[in-house]
Amino acid sequence: MVTATPLEAELMELAGAVPDPEMPMVSLAELGVLRGVHLVGPGRVQVELTPTYTGCPAIETMSSDIEQVLHERGIAEVEVRTVLSPPWSTDAITAEGRRKLAEAGIAPPRDMGGPVPVTLAIRCPHCGSTETTLLSRFSSTACKALRRCDSCREPFDHFKEL
C-alpha cells in the first residue's frame, strides 16, 4: 500500500463527497463504494469504484459525476475503473451514512459482523418500533427490501444486508 499524497487525499475527499445518484442523502464515501484515487501521471488520475450490486445502473452516473468534480479541480484525465474484489458489503456503509439513511426513512442495514448474519429486528425508521413485517424482498432499487411497520402501519424501505 502506497501512502496517498496530499493531492490524492484531497481528490479522494472531493470524489467521496459526490452524492449517490439514487439516494442523494448519502455520499459515495459514506456508502463505502469509493476504493481509491491514484495519481498516475501529471494531470492523470485513476479512480477505483466498486458497485453495490453487480448490475447497479447507478455506477455509470457515479462515474461521470466523479469525472466532473475532478475535472473542475483541474485534473485533465480521469479514468474511473470498476473493481469487484473484495466484494462490497453493507458493512462498508459508515455510521454517518446509516444515520442519514434512517433520517430519510430508509431502515439501514444491520451489521453483518462475521460470516454469520445477525437476525436482529429491523427498526421502523418512522416510529422506532421493532415490530415490522417483510412485504417484498425487492423494492425500488436492487439494494432495498420493502417492509411495513406493524405499529405505525407505515411502509418503508430497508437497505438489505449484503
Binding site: T54, L84, S85, W88, R137, F138, A142
Partner: protein, 233 residues
C-alpha cells in the same frame, strides 16, 4: 469454448426472459422483484461477456447457434408457477456453482464472490414462492407441480462440465438434488420423475443447440441493435 461465454449467456438469456414479465406480473411487488433479479443477472452477464470480448457485440450480433446458455434459461416464462420453477432450478444451481468458484482462484472468483450474495436472494425468493404455491391451495399446488414437471427434463444439462470452469460437477449435482429435494418436500410437492440423463433428456445448449422459442426471444432482444447499429440512450 469460453467458459465466460457459457456463464454469461445463462445470465443474459434469463435476464431477458425475466424482463418479459414487466407489465404482466401478478402483483406489483413481483413485478419489481422479477425486474430486480433480471437486473442482477444483466450485471453478471456484462462482467462475464466483457471477459470474453465486446459485451454488445456478443449480446446483439451473435446468431442463435453461437449462444452457449443452458436450454433451461431460454424456456418461455409460462405461467407464474413455471417461472418460479425455472428460478428455483436455476438459482439453486447458480448459487452452488458460484460458491465453488468464489472459493477457487480462477478468473471467475471475484465475480462469483460478488454475485453470490445477490443470487442467495434470488434463490430465497424462488424458495419462498415454491413453498407458498406448493403448500397453498389445490389449484396453486397443481400449477406449481406442473411447472416443475415441465422443466425437469432441462435440468440434466446443468451438470454437464463446462471447459475452463473449475468446478466439481459431481458434487454440484448431488448438492443440487439434495437441496431441491428438501425444498419440494417442505412444499408438499413431488420431485418430478422422468428422463434427465437418458436419450430423452433435453440438452445441447452448451454446444449451441437451442429450442424453438429461443430464436424468437433473440429476435426481439437483438432487433433494435441490428436495425440501428450502435444506438445508445
Amino acid at each position: 469454448m469460453s467458459a465466460a461465454i457459457a456463464l454469461g449467456d445463462d445470465a443474459l438469456v434469463l435476464s431477458q426472459r425475466l424482463g418479459e414479465w414487466a407489465g404482466h406480473a401478478p402483483v406489483l411487488e413481483e413485478e419489481v422483484a422479477l425486474a430486480n433479479i433480471a437486473l442482477d443477472l444483466l450485471g453478471q452477464a456484462r462482467v462475464l461477456l466483457s471477459m470474453a470480448g465486446d459485451e454488445d457485440e456478443l449480446a446483439y450480433l451473435r446468431e442463435e447457434r453461437a449462444f452457449r446458455n443452458l436450454q433451461l434459461v431460454e424456456q418461455p416464462n409460462g405461467d407464474f408457477a413455471q417461472t418460479i420453477a425455472r428460478q428455483l432450478y436455476f438459482s439453486t444451481y447458480q448459487e452452488l456453482l458460484y460458491e465453488q468458484l468464489a472459493d477457487g482462484d480462477s478468473e471467475f472468483a471475484p465475480l462469483a464472490a460478488k454475485a453470490l450474495k445477490e443470487v442467495v436472494y434470488h434463490r430465497d425468493h424462488a424458495e419462498h414462492w415454491t413453498l407458498r404455491l406448493g403448500d397453498g391451495t389445490a389449484h396453486s399446488r397443481e400449477r406449481m407441480q406442473l411447472g416443475l414437471n415441465t422443466l425437469w427434463r432441462y435440468t440434466g444439462e446443468l451438470f454437464e462440465p463446462i471447459e475452463g470452469c473449475p468446478a466439481d460437477w459431481t458434487l454440484l449435482r448431488s448438492r443440487w438434488q439434495a437441496r431441491i429435494g428438501s425444498i419440494l418436500e417442505r412444499a408438499t410437492l413431488a420431485l418430478p420423475e422422468g428422463a434427465r440423463h437418458t436419450a430423452w433428456a433435453a440438452g445441447g445448449g452448451r454446444q449451441g443447440v437451442h429450442t424453438e422459442p429461443f430464436g424468437r426471444m433473440l429476435a426481439e432482444m437483438q432487433h433494435l441493435h441490428r436495425s440501428h447499429p450502435g444506438a445508445t440512450w
